[in-house]
């Protein structure tokens, strides 16, 4: 038995850091009215989120929703004495719901973006032509609210990591980079295992879907604007 145990698979780690980078880029491009970049970045985030949902069913042990979404009693019990708890096998009971909340808010954010229209009717998401101008403006408002909620959740996420880092003395960042963490005394966890073939199949299907979304499901449009 090695003293390190692999708790995060490669797709989870790639997902995490790509999401961070693309979220930052989307923020920047949105603020600076680089809407072509903003659309591309949003579509990539959509692909990432869909992949993460798929991976929550098909990924390694710690990637699965069934593994990290716990009932209210477990969550409360954990929250009461989070600082004294041992390192968990993947997301802790509280962090698991934080992940779920982030996924839900980010999905709302990108889906609203797909339907959003700017006030001048010049820029729009690839699916905006399926709804009215007013509907598109409402989507843009939802897009903005969801963005602010996402910022709040990300802030909370960073605070939680700071809490473990500085008050508990547990490094959560390195494992998200290397995939491994120190094995605790007497801990008998196996390394996480995942199937590259399954990941590839999911990725191909999702990229095809997102490509269709990017075209607004119009495959022979009259003009390009």
């Amino acid at each position: 038995m090695t003293e390190k145990v692999r708790v995060w698979d490669v797709p989870v780690r790639l997902f995490h850091w790509s999401l961070l980078g693309l979220f930052a880029f989307s923020w920047w491009s949105g603020e600076n009215h680089e809407m072509e970049w903003h659309r591309q970045s949003g579509l990539l985030i959509l692909a990432l989120l869909l992949f993460r949902l798929f991976w929550g069913l098909a990924g390694s042990r710690t990637a699965r929703f069934a593994h990290f979404l716990k009932g209210p009693r477990t969550v409360l019990a954990y929250a009461r004495k989070a600082a004294d708890e041992h390192a968990t096998d993947g997301h802790n009971p509280l962090g698991g719901w934080s992940v779920a909340a982030l996924l839900a808010v980010l999905l709302t954010l990108v889906v609203a973006g797909l339907f959003s229209v700017d006030v001048d009717g010049l820029e729009s998401g690839p699916l905006a032509d399926y709804i009215s101008f007013d509907g598109g403006r409402t989507a843009a408002e939802i897009h903005e609210v969801a963005f602010n909620v996402a910022l709040g959740l990300i802030g909370l996420h960073v605070c939680a990591i700071g809490f473990y880092q500085f008050l508990v003395g547990r490094d959560l960042v390195s494992p998200m980079i290397t995939g491994r963490r120190e094995r605790e005394q007497g801990e008998t966890l196996d390394d996480v295992r995942w199937s590259p073939v399954r990941a590839l199949i999911g990725l191909v299907v999702i990229l095809a879907l997102v490509w269709a979304v990017s075209k607004g499901f119009h495959f022979n449009s009259a003009g390009d604007v």
């Binding site: 006030v119 001048d120 009717g121 010049l122 032509d129 009259a222 003009g223 390009d224 604007v225």
Partner: protein
């Protein structure tokens, strides 16, 4: 007694009819702001119609109708920025620069009318590629002015 009152009535009608063409003159600043915002919203909606048509079936009648709305609104907006309808008069993204650099602003307004008229012309031709090019020209006019004279939200 009959005649003068009829004349007064007719005169009032004439004044009303004249005012119809330039509502802003008589309206309160708040009404003027509301009206021009409603007009901009119609323009935005019409731009979306053209964009949607270009992404889909490029319906000539729909594009032409929307182009006419844009051209009509472009003409209506010029008089809707009288003095005293800036940010101090109510909730508006119109920047004070509109009134301090009036000739530049009016230049943008004139350019919009010209580009919108071109859009009406090409929309009637039904040539989707040409409509796409002119759509971008109109859009460029919109954002050119907005960059300078509208608050960024």
């Amino acid at each position: 007694m009959n005649k003068p009152s009829f004349r007064t009535f007719a005169a009032a009608l004439a004044v009303l009819a004249a005012a119809g063409g330039s509502l802003a003159v008589a309206a309160s600043p708040a009404d003027t702001i509301a009206l021009r915002q409603a007009n901009f919203k119609k323009m935005g909606g019409a731009m979306k119609v053209i964009k949607d048509e270009l992404a889909g079936s490029a319906n000539k009648a729909k594009m032409a109708g929307a182009a006419k709305t844009i051209a009509a609104m472009a003409r209506a907006q010029g008089p809707l920025f009288p003095n005293g309808t800036g940010p101090s008069a109510g909730k508006t993204d119109a920047l004070p620069a509109i009134w301090s650099q009036r000739p530049t602003f009016d230049g943008h307004a004139k350019k919009l009318i010209a580009e919108a008229d071109k859009l009406v012309a090409v929309a009637g031709s039904g040539n989707a590629a040409a409509v796409g090019v002119q759509f971008k020209a109109v859009g460029g006019t919109c954002s050119g002015c907005h960059k300078q004279f509208r608050a960024d939200d």
